[in-house]
């Protein structure tokens, strides 16, 4: 879909949909929202719906940041301590590389 050809009202609806969809534990929707609407929100000359789009993009970015922090922390902890956790570590794992503790 090309945003250029979309009327401003529809842009806003789309942006809101992506923003709300992100709350269903789908941080990638927020990522898409941020990337896709960044130009519309901050670079384009002002239009009526722009302030709202701006809010949604900002909030999406915030949510995305939250997810990135949480996931990075968890993955670091998991990779570092999996072997030490032993039994718990094994049960938390989906695949265990062969021949590693």
């Amino acid at each position: 879909m090309n945003l250029e050809r979309l009327p401003n009202e529809e842009k806003l609806t789309l942006c809101r949909k992506y923003y709300l969809g992100g709350f269903a534990l789908l941080p990638f929707l927020w990522l898409v929202n941020v990337v896709w609407f960044f130009k519309e929100a901050f670079l384009k000359p002002p239009f009526t719906e722009q302030t709202q789009i701006k809010t949604y993009v900002k909030r999406s970015a915030l949510g995305l940041l939250f997810w990135v922090t949480v996931l990075t922390t968890w993955i670091t902890i998991y990779q570092h301590f999996r072997a030490q956790w032993g039994e718990v570590g094994d049960y938390l794992s989906f695949t265990i590389p062969l021949g590693t503790p």
């Binding site: 049960y91 989906f94 695949t95 021949g99 590693t100 503790p101």
Partner: protein
């Protein structure tokens, strides 16, 4: 136009075809695959992992032929091109060299040991000095002064290498063409010339033996059972095989638990051995000497036990996996305690165990007993009785029997597992007093040579099979002693024992079958058709391995015991296979086992005359009870497992210097980037580049 393009397609296809063939030959030109690769594999117990492993794709190192221990400096410090793949003669395969390599393992990619053609004269044992230290009977609660080999180290030559963990692959290689090629490659490329480092390209070797299991048995058994994993790969398997046993008179084996009015003398031998490398476990003295003696004794007793009505039943038993913390015997005792065996511990009158009885240049047998249980006067009386029987049996024979000092504990033996359950009278027969006379205990040198099974030169295999060696003679004497003692112990008349005599020819044939080649004219006659395929022309490997593989020692002992103690019966092949003597016979299978064996071919025919052998031979699983209880952290039972692996291979090739490799990679990346750039420029300037001569017309193709 059409024709032309067709032609091009044909050319292109042809080119690709030729290129495909060339690809293969390029690989063959780069790599030389090694044919004979015997790795050291990873084993795990409740707390540790032992053995060796490579990285997932195999470890690569520059070849270095180690000439002496001093030469290690080159590998561990001075050499400019680490990591090194160390090739050594087995005389350098010692604890000190291997531990230095282990500690400097960042500069060591792997080790290949060349098997020698003769045994080291000073002895070599990669096993520990105190075998099965923690799973025998002696502990803080039972003869604390005798625990942990406090009074005597049974295996003084043991260097414990088999129980070390190495994080690089270690392979064994035969001294053959491959080894010659490796040496040649080393001489041509890697040898330092007048003090200066050799120039690239250098000769390198890659060894792959990546092991799936890691850490310990609890870990790998847990990972075996995790089922939601994507790749449901098993990573390890318990060491297990079969115990084989045969009572001297038929017992109903389908009813388990206590048998009324049954008194049993268990006479046992061990069925396994090991060495540092998993596929080499000759165990000539540590396993074969004892089990051949027991088989010969059972054979000698066949007629005597059938003719005379004896008070007690003799129970010929072969325990598997004794090397790994008494797997077989602990399972049988466990079964007897749980009433899952045709007899229980109350039925056991006494135990006689035949250990290592190779009799190296002596004719002295030692009767080992347990000083702790002998404090009980009734046990002591029974033990004295058994010893007296053995002594009277040895009278007039070419062996003498002696008792070691009274304060000495039992050597490592299956009998210890019975004593863990309760006190039993019992004797362990060995050819040593306080430490093994076997200099090669559970090493790859514990072979026919070490047992002195030597044949005169120029004998054909058939002549060797039937040649009675001195070792066979002395083993037959031991077997006669054991058989006669058992006969008296079972309540037979002393006057009849002179007729009991082990057959020297049988012993010779068994020695040949276990130590030289299991595929010979004799075994082909007595091993059942479905198992004949397992026979081969090599020394039998006594390593227990995992359950999936049929193990040759088990197969051989099963059929030998059946043929030597059983009788040929006139039963059709069909009925024989269905375990019955006639069409409506439903009882025999509870008492006997029936094997259809190929038999010998009559002189003027190639068709063998098969027949049915009826015997009391039975077998039961030899797996540590820890795996039945799913308690992998127990210290009471064996917890040994063997890791699985995907691929074992070795190959040699020439490597270029690191700089040249990087340069090639750099040029490659450069070409890629410049071509991308060029394409970009060309496509962006396409209208200028391609419209010069021609009018921009609307396309009319």
């Amino acid at each position: 136009m059409d024709l032309l393009s067709n032609k091009w397609i044909v050319y292109l296809a042809l080119c690709l075809f030729v290129a495909g063939i060339n690809c293969n030959s390029v690989e063959n030109k780069i790599y030389v695959k090694l044919n004979y690769t015997v790795p050291c594999v990873r084993l795990l117990n409740s707390t540790h992992q032992i053995g060796c492993q490579s990285s997932l794709s195999g470890d690569v190192g520059v070849l270095h032929v180690l000439e002496s221990e001093e030469n290690l400096d080159f590998v561990l410090r001075n050499g400019r091109n680490p990591p090194y793949m160390v090739i050594m003669e087995s005389s350098l395969f010692t604890r000190s060299v291997m531990m230095k390599l282990k500690n400097g393992s960042s500069r060591v990619a792997g080790v290949a040991v060349v098997e020698p053609t003769s045994n080291p004269p000073d002895g070599f044992s990669p096993h520990t000095r105190c075998p099965n230290e923690n799973t025998g009977v002696y502990s803080e609660n039972y003869g604390p002064g005798l625990a942990h080999c406090n009074t005597t180290k049974w295996n003084p030559l043991g260097n414990g290498l088999s129980y070390e963990e190495f994080d690089f692959p270690i392979f064994s290689m035969k001294d053959d063409n491959d080894t010659q090629l490796i040496r040649q490659c080393y001489m041509d490329h890697n040898r330092p010339m007048n003090g200066s480092d050799p120039q690239y390209p250098l000769c390198a070797m890659q060894l792959s033996s990546h092991m799936s299991a890691v850490t310990s048995t609890p870990t790998c058994m847990r990972r075996n059972s995790i089922s939601f994993s994507m790749s449901n790969d098993m990573v390890c398997d318990p060491l297990s095989d079969q115990n084989i046993w045969a009572p001297s008179k038929p017992l109903n084996t389908t009813q388990n638990g206590h048998k009324a009015n049954e008194s049993v003398i268990i006479v046992s031998a061990r069925l396994d051995s090991r060495s540092f490398f998993s596929e080499i476990g000759p165990g000539a003295e540590s396993a074969a000497s004892g089990l051949i003696t027991l088989l010969a004794a059972a054979h000698a007793l066949r007629n005597a036990t059938q003719d005379a009505q004896l008070d007690r039943t003799i129970f010929y038993t072969f325990f598997h996996g004794e090397t790994f913390d008494y797997i077989g015997s602990s399972k049988m005792v466990y079964d007897m305690e749980k009433n899952q065996f045709p007899i229980d511990l109350d039925n056991v009158h006494s135990v006689l165990e035949i250990g290592q009885v190779g009799l190296h240049s002596s004719s002295n047998l030692w009767l080992h007993t347990d000083p702790v249980s002998m404090r009980n006067s009734s046990i002591q009386e029974e033990v004295k009785n058994l010893i007296a029987n053995l002594k009277s049996a040895a009278a007039g024979l070419n062996v003498s029997v002696t008792e070691p000092g009274v304060t000495q504990p039992l050597p490592p033996s299956s009998f210890q597992r019975f004593l863990r359950a309760r006190p039993f009278p019992g004797v362990v027969i060995e050819d040593y007093n306080s430490s093994f006379s076997n200099k090669y205990f559970q090493s790859m040198f514990d072979n026919a040579d070490s047992l002195n099974v030597l044949y005169p030169p120029n004998l054909t295999p058939e002549e060797q099979l039937n040649h009675v060696t001195n070792t066979a003679k002395s083993l037959a004497e031991v077997a006669t002693t054991v058989a006669r003692a058992l006969f008296i112990q079972a309540g037979g008349e002393k006057t009849q024992i002179s007729s009991i005599k082990a057959d020297e020819l049988m012993v010779s044939r068994m020695l040949y079958s276990f130590l030289i080649s299991s595929n010979n004219s004799w075994t082909q006659e007595i091993v059942g058709l479905k198992d004949v395929v397992h026979l081969n022309n090599n020394t039998v490997n006594f390593y227990i391995s995992v359950e999936q593989q049929a193990s040759l020692p088990t197969i051989l002992v099963k059929y030998l015991l059946a043929n030597l103690t059983g009788t040929a019966v006139n039963v059709t092949q069909e009925n024989c296979k269905n375990q019955k003597e006639s069409e409506d016979d439903k009882e025999s299978k509870h008492l006997y086992n029936y094997f259809w064996v190929p038999g010998a071919a009559p002189p003027n025919s190639t068709e063998r005359d098969g027949f049915c052998v009826r015997s009391t031979v039975h077998w039961s699983r030899a797996i540590s009870p820890a795996f039945l209880m799913e308690n992998y952290t127990t210290s009471e039972y064996s917890t040994w497992t063997e890791s699985r692996w995907k691929e074992i291979k070795g190959r040699i090739f020439l490597v270029a210097s690191h700089d040249l490799e990087m340069l090639t990679l750099g040029v490659g990346i450069g070409v890629l980037l410049s071509s991308l750039l060029l394409t970009y420029i060309m496509s962006s300037k396409a209208d200028i580049l391609f419209s010069s001569g021609r009018e921009p017309t609307s396309a009319t193709y």
